[in-house]
């Protein structure tokens, strides 16, 4: 089973230290982010149990949180996840066309991953980039003012990084 490395454990301790004694459960959301980033971009049941053990809380307390928030992936995802916003402001700025274009280009539907495990397409609700629509989240940052050309460039960029 995967465990935090030394640096990850140091980060874990930093996160927990921000809360008063006995309130370590407060670190649960940030610790789940850390775990997801550390263990391949998703949270397995084993990882959730590991987090419960680390925080000294019951596994159900971790499960109920992991299933509530949309950023936690409970199934394996591609190396690059395109999270495209489809809410009102993005929709009126043409997000439908961008989502369709990515589907055609990658040959997958929202929620699916390409057979090579490189890309996952996910439609998401408002990410707070309405003035820079259409947009997607890719890893830690946003890609905004999307056009078909930009989507092509992003896909090429991901492929070239993965090939290195």
């Amino acid at each position: 089973m995967s465990q935090f490395s030394e640096t990850q454990m140091a980060e874990f301790k930093r996160l927990v230290s921000r809360y008063p004694e006995g309130k370590q459960k407060s670190a649960l959301l940030p610790v789940l982010h850390l775990a997801q980033n550390s263990f391949g971009g998703w949270l397995s049941e084993k990882t959730l149990d590991y987090v419960a053990e680390l925080l000294n809380i019951t596994p159900i307390e971790v499960y109920e949180v992991a299933t509530f928030y949309s950023m936690y992936n409970l199934k394996p995802v591609g190396k690059y996840m395109f999270e495209v916003c489809q809410t009102g402001p993005c929709m009126i700025s043409g997000s439908d066309n961008i989502i369709q274009y990515i589907q055609d280009k990658l040959g997958i539907k929202p929620g699916e991953t390409t057979p090579d495990g490189l890309f996952t397409l996910k439609t998401v609700e408002c990410l707070g980039a309405c003035g820079y629509a259409p947009m997607m989240q890719l890893g830690k940052t946003y890609r905004e003012h999307l056009t078909k050309d930009k989507v092509d460039a992003i896909i090429a960029e991901c492929k070239s990084i993965a090939a290195e």
């Binding site: 921000r18 407060s26 509530f68 928030y69 950023m71 402001p89």
Partner: protein, 451 residues
């Protein structure tokens, strides 16, 4: 160009760094507050300023602060709500990205006023890169003696911690935010008790929006009375508006709440008019949950008076003919936009974001989404429109938190003002998806730029 209090320095080169921010006059309010004023005097200044919460509800900030309980020996907390998730709203992000020290400065003053030694910024999980910006600013402030132990020799200790959420609109509601900060699902709490009495870890807590806390800086620097002179009536100071949709210049604008809606949409200084030479159809002026208004009621009130960009004027006419300032998320729709489709995407959003605690919201948002989808796809019946109306009425006011209302209002307003468009969809099923119903209530803009 109106008065700018928050974004005046936002584009000075290097303003993200402590050195430049300080050189531009930053952290003066901390010196003034901690060395010359006491906590009570700060609360008084904020009360005098008339500052209203900038997150959406518009509750007077000074009054909120004065409610905080001070039981002996119990720590108190200030929590900054940076969960910005209301569709159409991206102003807090803009402020934090461009001028992070302004928020940190406001947080230190507010923490001192409220007696919070450990202050938390709860930021939406998707704004991951902003966490780094804020943590760098906090480290810099600490290295320069504005955070940590015994700040400026005042005896006041303060640390600020940044906590990331993980994707849940509901966590913008203050009690859901507190639950989330405690490491739980974002289920809003039943009030009372209010957070000011029992909040984070059952301790007295104040939750304020990013922009509200940033506004504390100019209030302390210039004094509450001077601040209150800006703006009009109970809409004092400046407000950040994030404008998006079919306009030429989407972006974040700081306004002093005396300009008209028409000027805001058509002036080059702001939105720069409707994009692609199209005409204005409708607008959601305060974030997706506030009522949508057709062009004629947006630019003028039902009485025929000019509508202004402030709390009172935007809500003139109540929900029958008015809307709300809300969070300042200003969404503009041009003549090609389909009201049914837009309403459907918003209904889908609220269904996705309902925490599931209250039946009217959990079930109702799902029903509204399904019916709107049906109408949009050309499978609706005329009775579905009445059914939609009925469902939204059964949600409103019947839930623990305002998400139910937020889901009901957009549907109600869309039917109220664009019923003919809904009817057109069910009567012309084969054409419903072509989505070019056109303009129902068109108003020719009369705005003429000054000079």
């Amino acid at each position: 160009m109106g008065v700018k209090l928050l974004l005046e320095k936002a584009h000075v080169e290097g303003i993200r760094t402590y050195a430049v921010y300080r050189k531009e006059g930053g952290y003066r309010s901390v010196e003034k507050a901690l060395q010359q004023m006491g906590p009570e005097a700060i609360v008084e200044e904020v009360k005098k300023s008339g500052l209203r919460g900038r997150g959406g509800a518009g509750f007077p900030a000074g009054m909120k602060w004065s409610f905080i309980a001070k039981p002996e020996g119990v720590p108190r907390h200030l929590v900054c709500n940076a969960d910005e998730s209301e569709p159409g709203t991206f102003k807090d992000r803009y402020l934090m990205e461009n001028i992070p020290h302004l928020l940190i400065e406001g947080l230190i003053v507010a923490s001192f006023a409220l007696g919070s030694n450990d202050t938390y910024i709860y930021i939406r999980g998707e704004y991951a890169w902003i966490v780094d910006i804020l943590e760098t600013a906090i480290e810099e402030a600490k290295a320069n003696g504005f955070l940590g132990k015994n700040i400026l020799g005042s005896g006041f200790d303060c640390n600020i911690h940044v906590q990331r959420g993980a994707g849940a609109y509901i966590c913008g509601e203050e009690t859901a935010l507190i639950e989330s900060l405690e490491g739980k699902r974002g289920n809003p709490r039943i009030k009372p008790p209010f957070p000011a009495i029992q909040g984070l870890w059952q301790r007295p807590t104040v939750v304020n929006n990013v922009e509200t806390l940033a506004a504390v800086v100019p209030i302390i620097n210039m004094g509450g009375e001077e601040y209150a002179k800006i703006g009009v009536g109970r809409s004092t100071g400046t407000k950040l508006i994030s404008a998006c949709g079919n306009i030429n210049k989407p972006g974040v604008y700081e306004i002093d709440m005396t300009i008209s809606v028409e000027e805001f949409i058509y002036a080059d200084e702001y939105c720069g008019g409707i994009a692609n030479g199209k005409r204005l159809k409708a607008c959601i002026p305060g974030g997706s949950s506030v009522p949508i208004l057709p062009a004629n009621l947006l630019l003028k009130t039902a009485k025929g008076e000019t509508r202004y960009m402030n709390y009172e004027s935007l809500s003139d006419g109540g929900f029958a003919t008015g809307s709300m300032m809300g969070s300042g998320g200003f969404i503009v729709l041009d003549e090609d936009q389909c009201i049914v489709k837009n309403t459907y995407t918003l209904a889908r959003f609220y269904r996705h974001e309902s925490c599931g605690q209250c039946s009217p919201c959990r079930e109702g948002t799902g029903w509204m989404e399904k019916i709107l989808y049906k109408i949009e796809m050309g499978k609706g019946r005329k009775s579905d429109i009445d059914l939609l109306w009925d469902i939204q009425r059964k949600i409103e006011g019947n839930t623990i938190c305002p998400l139910g209302d937020a889901a009901a209002w957009p549907v109600a307003a869309a039917i109220r003002h664009f019923r003919d468009e809904f009817e057109w969809h069910v009567l012309n099923q084969d054409q419903a998806q072509k989505r070019n119903y056109g303009l129902a209530h068109y108003a020719e803009p009369i705005y003429v730029p000054a000079g």
